[in-house]
């Protein structure tokens, strides 16, 4: 279940923030999302917030919560799995 969600998130991440030169399968799920190798910044995170709300019905509003949720792809998947409505 979690494996499938992680695989899906990797694909959506690459599509949502347009990283054409990144192979989704090679993304490290434990690596920090922001400021890591992928070059993701705060605007990308906000774009992911919109995608997650749209595709999973999970709102991530507070900056405090956001920081924990977006620590890594794994923490993001766990948050979505726990709160998803769709």
């Amino acid at each position: 279940m979690m494996e499938a969600l992680l695989a899906e998130l990797k694909k959506k991440l690459v599509e949502t923030i347009n990283l054409p030169d990144v192979n989704p399968d090679l993304i490290d799920i434990n690596a920090p999302l922001v400021g890591g190798e992928l070059g993701i910044d705060s605007i990308d995170i906000l774009e992911l917030v919109v995608m997650i709300e749209q595709d999973y019905g999970v709102k991530i509003d507070s900056k405090e919560v956001g920081r924990k949720v977006f620590a890594s792809l794994k923490s993001l998947a766990e948050h979505i799995a726990a709160h998803r409505t769709q």
């Binding site: 923030i17 347009n18 990283l19 054409p20 030169d21 070059g39 910044d41 705060s42 605007i43 990308d44 906000l46 774009e47 917030v49 919109v50 709300e53 749209q54 509003d61 900056k63």
Partner: protein, 721 residues
């Protein structure tokens, strides 16, 4: 004649704290807040916003922004018996308050969208106020209003105008509300600038107009003096300010130097102070660096008025003028507790005392910074005479058309064939690093490709320090995609990336990032004449001893362009592109040069042609200087443009070739940029071929091409070899 001193001789304000100067003055005295939960349109959680009530729109045909601008302009000109010589308006979204509703209802009629363009606010004022001069527009996001004042001041000091109506306007709309919401930059409790617990801005709306008057002596009705202005660019990030405030500091220092004042002489600072965590931290860092241990009183009014984007810089300046005239230091609404990370507190209550030398900051997306110095009329030392805008020496150039880059375009042109068309996206991006452009759509990519190619052509190591960009429509893909997503999700979700990318100055911001260009960064958006305005601004603001880049570009959008640009709606083949030039102020009269010469309303073709001829130095000069005329004839304005051209040609009896350049570039607003680059290249080439010149090759012995812009405005620039 050029006056060195610029006075403020009239003001008009409409904001959430008052519908005129008097009401805003009363609000200043009591620190009244205009923030209330948003009611203008339905949203799930209405955050506080600075709306204007009652509804300012009296003519339902006009967007809110235009109506606000007119209200403030009429107040500023209430005691004047003649129109200003020129109008300069700072604006971000133009007719968006109306356009977003039209697109939501899928309105297919181009005539419904005639007030969409950012430049239509100034055009509307020019029409209503019967201004015979140029109508300029600056769109540098949230610094637009202040940048408009600085440009107005420079126009007067260059001798281009004596009385300039300058200001800013922006109406609240879904586009900006949902855009800032998607960036999580709206404070649910209302803006609390500088406060420890601040959590973002409150959106506002409004307009402020200042009548700027050049004079040798203080005019009897002078209220204040616009004593100085400074422009800079962070060249750091698309939206986030430099944390150390270095860009803000540079703009403030330049404004002070321009006014001939030291920091110690300033007795009040009006902060940009939006209430976002990052802005307030960076701005106060810059203040601390500039003023050291003796910081004068300071405050942000955005906790009471809200942040009115393109209008904000002008409203702030107008409030400074009121404070100066009536002895009031404005209060910083919303502030309760000092932020230990900032360590300094603003003025929390109005302070009734004389203030005479004020500094006002405005910053915006794209890293754009503007600062103005306003003083009592007799307070500042006389400033040195500023000469007319210099010609710009062209050090490198490039263009993009449907045919490709400069070489392909010139080849097409020389064989008499059109280069019009829409270059495939991958062609535009082919030399740009994928990571640098992953968030950019068509227009910023065009701008970057042009910038890189022009710089390569210049073959100089040093990057340009300043950026002057012209675009009529701005990033259409980002704007359209943003709205479509908003409507598809029933006005609940929108893309922060598209929002950031949608501002007209986003491409210029990307060019600044590319070059690390920390100097002035101005985006002109006055319809078909946006490149011509960018060139004029480059002449006024290009730093001596450094390179600048001046460029114009437009993107064609399959659905949006035919609705917006009547020249495209006529069935013209989809085409876009632009041109870019690396320039330096020309010190001598040799080498490839480009110079803006003329700008006026085209409403009266006879008068426009006559003024054009005299501005160019008369018949003999025109016939002696130019081998050919390039005429910019927007398809939508064909009849008027041809009448203007015919009158000009019959007045001058010009016998060289006259080339309707849009036949070769295609119909798009920034075609003048492409044509100007072609003119420079043809002069270097030395001749115009038979196919274009009529009978036989025309040798360009005078090494001069006059590039005219015709239609709603009439403009002239010259390319000399």
């Amino acid at each position: 004649m050029a006056f060195t001193e610029v006075f403020i001789t009239g003001i008009g304000i409409i904001s959430s704290t008052g519908n005129n100067c008097q009401e805003n003055l009363e609000a200043l005295k009591t620190a009244k807040s205009g923030l209330r939960p948003l009611s203008l349109f339905p949203v799930a959680h209405p955050f506080p916003a600075g709306e204007i009530h009652p509804d300012p729109v009296s003519d339902p045909g006009l967007p809110r922004t235009h109506a606000l601008a007119l209200r403030a302009a009429r107040e500023a000109l209430a005691r004047e018996d003649r129109p200003p010589d020129a109008i300069v308006i700072g604006v971000t979204t133009g007719g968006m308050p109306k356009t977003e509703l039209l697109l939501r209802e899928k309105n297919p009629h181009p005539e419904a969208y005639i007030w969409h363009g950012a430049g239509t606010v100034a055009a509307c004022l020019a029409r209503e106020l019967k201004c015979p001069g140029p109508a300029f527009t600056i769109s540098t996001a949230c610094s637009s209003g202040a940048a408009a004042l600085i440009f107005g001041r420079a126009l007067i000091r260059s001798g281009a105008a004596v009385r300039v109506l300058a200001g800013g306007a922006d109406g609240l709309c879904r586009f900006t509300y949902f855009g800032f919401n998607s960036l999580q930059l709206l404070d649910p409790q209302g803006a609390r600038p500088l406060d420890k617990n601040r959590a973002g801005m409150s959106l506002g709306e409004g307009a402020a107009m200042l009548l700027l008057t050049g004079a040798g002596e203080v005019p009897a009705h002078a209220i204040a003096r616009l004593a100085g202005g400074g422009l800079s660019c962070d060249a750091y990030h698309a939206t986030a300010p430099r944390p150390d405030g270095a860009g803000a500091l540079a703009a403030m220092r330049e404004a002070l130097a321009d006014a001939g004042l030291s920091a110690a002489e300033i007795d009040y600072i009006n902060l940009h102070g939006t209430g976002t965590v990052d802005n307030d931290a960076a701005e106060t860092a810059a203040i601390k660096k500039l003023f050291g241990n003796t910081i004068p009183e300071f405050s942000s009014i955005k906790g009471t008025t809200g942040h009115s984007l393109g209008a904000a810089g002008a409203i702030d300046a107008a409030v400074c003028v009121l404070g100066l005239a009536h002895g009031i230091v404005p209060a910083n609404g919303g502030f309760r507790e000092v932020d230990p990370l900032i360590g300094i507190s603003p003025r929390t209550k109005p302070h009734f005392r004389p203030i005479r030398r004020l500094l006002s900051n405005s910053f915006g997306f794209g890293g754009n910074n503007a600062a103005v110095v306003i003083t009592a009329p007799r307070e500042t030392p006389s400033r040195p005479q500023r000469s007319a805008p210099p010609a710009l020496r062209v050090r490198g150039s490039a263009c993009l058309t449907g045919a490709g880059g400069i070489n392909a375009t010139v080849a097409r042109f020389l064989s008499g064939e059109s280069a019009a068309g829409r270059l495939p996206d991958e062609e535009i991006a082919k030399d740009l690093p994928p990571r640098a452009i992953r968030r950019l759509k068509r227009l910023p990519r065009l701008a970057l490709a042009l910038a890189a190619a022009a710089q390569a052509d210049a073959a100089v190591k040093e990057n340009p320090a300043a950026v002057f960009f012209g675009t009529a429509w701005g990033p259409l893909s980002e704007t359209y995609d943003f709205l479509m997503k908003l409507f598809e999700t029933n006005e609940s979700l929108s893309s922060p990336t598209d929002f950031i990318g949608s501002v007209h100055n986003a491409p210029a911001g990307q060019v600044a990032l590319w070059f690390q260009a920390a100097g002035a960064n101005l985006t002109a958006s006055c319809g078909d004449y946006s490149f011509e305005q960018a060139l004029l601004m480059a002449g006024l603001f290009s730093p001596a001893g450094k390179f600048s880049i001046v460029l114009g570009a437009e993107e064609t959008h399959p659905l949006f362009s035919p609705l917006l640009d009547a020249s495209v709606a006529g069935g013209a083949a989809a085409s876009d592109g632009g041109g870019a030039l690396i320039v330096t102020p020309a010190r001598e009269e040799s080498g490839a040069r480009l110079k803006s010469l003329f700008f006026a309303s085209g409403d009266d073709p006879r008068e426009a042609a006559g003024s054009l001829v005299s501005a160019l130095g008369g018949l003999e000069t025109i016939r002696g200087k130019y081998d050919a005329v390039f005429a910019g004839i927007p398809g939508a304005d064909d009849a008027r443009a041809r009448e203007q051209l015919d009158r000009f040609l019959s007045l001058t009896r010009f016998s060289g070739p006259v080339i309707d350049y849009r036949r070769y570039t295609g119909q798009y607003a920034a075609a003048a940029a492409t044509a100007s680059v072609l003119a420079v290249r043809l002069i270097a080439n030395g001749k115009i071929p038979r196919s274009l010149a009529g009978a036989g090759d025309l040798i360009l012995e005078k090494k001069g091409i006059l590039v005219l812009g015709l239609g709603r405005q009439v403009t002239a620039l010259e390319a000399l070899g």
